[in-house]
């Protein structure tokens, strides 16, 4: 990952208290086979809910507890479609009602502490849960401190990131609806790695699709912290040049360092950019619970280094991390999280039985992005695990260079199917 000097100083300061055991892989010895081993899964998103389901499917003797503070699952994939007016919040919001049918114990709570030596997690409500193995699937924590003024503007309801689907998605849609024709929408893209690499560019397409129909004199300024479009470049450039000609002002290497919700200004190294609606997406790190477990253990204290065949932390035994929080070459996508979850569940089942997990797991990623209300494209890769190398992308992987209607239909079907896979 690329860090500028200022970030590095901040990160090394923040991480100074974290003691890192460099390169020390403390692979937990296979637990002595227990009749009913306990797994606590933290976070019921794409990764966590899937992992809980597959642990019960493949290890019916395992007691699985899934801790999640929210009442409902709100999907980040397709949330850009809500911003574009193609879908509603109801369409991307789903209940957890089916998970207990798999024998999963759902606990509505928030984890406030992890004790890896006692193998317990402490809950906000005051109770605690013990585990034989712990799976952390918290998604990302948005580093709002890295953009000066963001927290104040966010608290005032003036500027949101909407990079976790929910109330901020609904608010951003309202702001876009209230914007006059001829207004300017300013959006920023954090430097990679971040959650959902094509997400920001899809969002620009969805907002442009809305503007084109509802307020065609409006403009979009896309401030990208990366040197170039970070994902599906051909697909998005084709849409911007052909569907939304003259509407999107794309500015690479423009990382915002400050935002002012009163003057509605985003500041980069080069410019102060004014807009009517501002959508600043700060950089991200592994979810807070990973820090509690001591598992946010890469050299910057940002992501979690794991054994990628089992997803067990390289430094904290019996703690597995899946999804966006993992340090790897795998894209941080909801789809990828579901497949981390399955490989992790399979490995845990084998380890509980005292057997070696599959030494060569395979994960696939499929990610569709809409370019308009009738067209989508995809990126797809199969990653095969190789000892010493980690996940190696099979050579045929890649992305489409133009959106079309067939892929739009598959995109919609994909969403229905992955939601069912995670929650049904």
């Amino acid at each position: 990952m690329s860090f500028n000097r200022r970030d590095f100083l901040k990160a090394s300061g923040a991480g100074a208290a974290t003691v890192l055991a460099a390169g020390c892989a403390t692979q937990g010895a296979p637990s002595t086979a227990k009749a009913n081993p306990k797994v606590v899964v933290v976070g019921a998103g794409f990764g966590g809910a899937t992992c809980a389901k597959y642990l019960r499917k493949w290890g019916p003797n395992i007691e699985v507890t899934l801790v999640e503070p929210n009442d409902k699952f709100v999907s980040c994939p397709i949330s850009n479609w809500v911003l574009g007016g193609l879908k509603t919040m109801d369409d991307i919001t789903h209940g957890y009602d089916n998970l207990p049918k798999h024998g999963i114990k759902m606990v509505k709570d928030y984890v406030v502490g992890v004790n890896p030596s006692a193998r317990t997690v402490k809950l906000k409500s005051g109770g605690s849960l013990s585990y034989d193995r712990l799976v952390l699937a918290p998604g990302v924590e948005i580093m709002t401190d890295y953009v000066k003024g963001f927290k104040e503007a966010e608290a005032a309801g003036k500027v949101v990131h909407a990079w976790k689907a929910g109330a901020q998605t609904a608010l951003l849609r309202k702001q876009l609806e209230a914007m006059p024709d001829g207004g300017v929408f300013v959006m920023s893209v954090p430097a990679a790695p971040y959650r959902c690499p094509p997400g920001p560019y899809e969002r620009a397409c969805m907002v442009a699709n809305y503007f084109k129909k509802a307020k065609p004199k409006s403009k979009i300024i896309l401030l990208d912290g990366n040197p170039d479009v970070a994902s599906k470049k051909g697909l998005f450039m084709d849409a911007w040049n052909n569907l939304y000609k003259g509407m999107i002002d794309y500015r690479p290497n423009n990382l915002p360092f400050a935002v002012d919700g009163n003057t509605m200004t985003v500041s980069t190294e080069f410019d102060d950019v004014k807009g009517d609606v501002l959508n600043v997406v700060p950089r991200q790190k592994a979810g807070e619970v990973c820090e509690m477990a001591g598992a946010r253990n890469d050299s910057n204290g940002i992501w979690c280094a794991v054994n990628l065949a089992t997803f067990e932390s390289t430094t904290v035994p019996n703690v597995h991390i899946i999804g966006d929080s993992v340090l790897s070459n795998l894209p941080k996508s909801g789809h990828m999280a579901t497949n981390h979850a399955k490989m992790c569940a399979a490995a845990i089942v084998e380890m509980f039985a005292g057997r070696q997990p599959d030494p060569t797991p395979i994960v696939a990623n499929t990610c569709y992005s809409a370019t308009s209300d009738t067209t989508s494209g995809y990126v797809a890769n199969v990653f095969r695990f190789e000892k010493e190398k980690g996940y190696v992308s099979a050579p045929e992987g890649g992305a489409t260079s133009k959106g079309d209607e067939i892929n739009f239909a598959y995109n919609e079907s994909w969403a229905q199917n992955i939601w069912a896979e995670v929650l049904s």
Binding site: Y54, W58, G59, H335, T338, N339, K342, M343, A345, A346, V349, E350, A353, G354, R355, P357, D358, T360, P361, I362, V363, A364, T366, Y378, A380, N381, V382, F383, R384, A394, P395, E396, G397, G398, T400, I406, N407, A409, Y410, E412, S413, W414, Q416, N417, I418, A420, E421, S424
Partner: protein
Amino acid sequence: MHKKLALLAAGAALMSANAFAVSHGEAIASTCMSCHGANGKSNGAIPSLAGLDKAYFVEAMKDFKSGKRPGTIMKRHAAGYTEAEYAEMGEFFSKIK
């Protein structure tokens, strides 16, 4: 009783030397579900995989890989697996009712 337990333990030891409780084939087939739907049963435009004939599945994967069968995304996926894995996945999907 003790004899029975010892036999069971010996059986378990044999199994652990030879097989995964979750086979490589089932684990990788499960990753298909994220697009093709829970238990291989799809909603919408993406085809279901549940209950497909094994030979048909294997042939389809070979043809996606070679380009003989036209498609959108499947050439990229099919090329990522071996023919032995096609057979393992096909076996798994064929058994879903």
